[in-house]
Subunit: 143 residues, 2 copies
Amino acid sequence: MKDIDIMADRKTDQPHEAAQAGIAEWQRIVAELDWESLPDLLAEKVTYRSPADIEAYHGKDTMVAILRLVFGIMEDFTYLRHFSGGNGYVLEFSTHVGDARLFGVDIVEFDQNGKITDFMVMMRPADAVLTLASEAAKRMAAG
Amino acid sequence: MKDIDIMADRKTDQPHEAAQAGIAEWQRIVAELDWESLPDLLAEKVTYRSPADIEAYHGKDTMVAILRLVFGIMEDFTYLRHFSGGNGYVLEFSTHVGDARLFGVDIVEFDQNGKITDFMVMMRPADAVLTLASEAAKRMAAG
């Protein structure tokens, strides 16, 4: 039984090759905060789903603007566990906003060309998510 | 390239056999709201991480009480996408609390015996999470 578990633990999910390349490019962009490269990784009609709003956001420019803004507020952003399935990945992360510690997940779906078609973010705890959202709205309003 | 993608899409992650059996039992318990069976699926020192609090909860009795309470408030709970990796699974869901629609994920980790050791829930949007948490606290206080 022990041997079976060890072997099973070695198995890893591998979404299609274009998705594998896409998630690697996403992680590079986040590590380098290379937002100039992000549009090339996004499908034209990409959908972004924020942890604060039920309504989704659409389009490359909107998603790039939101991520630039939010990554300018979050500190010590670090990816933790990694899950995958179908054409997508779930990347767990930890971060800070001021004194508040947060954990979250990015749920990222890719098309057959390795472009991101859907990007959903969920974070906990909820009160810190609202703090982050209000700071983002303040900075957005300030241009 | 199309053939490669089709084959790659067929690959699925398979955490160890005990974890596979454990997640199937979890999904049965949720489908049947069979909370009496939940303690047998939990490790003694199981950790529950809620979408509303940064502090974790510990122990079987606490987790069972919280889930009984929360599943008594959520309506139309439905699992959506499914991801896996290592010894765990991410199960995306949709639900309603009153008029508020929510999406969330259960991130479930299993030990080598197929018992749940860590259960983290994240949900969006954040304001609806706070509505759910305050309703849960009200019912908890009311016994």
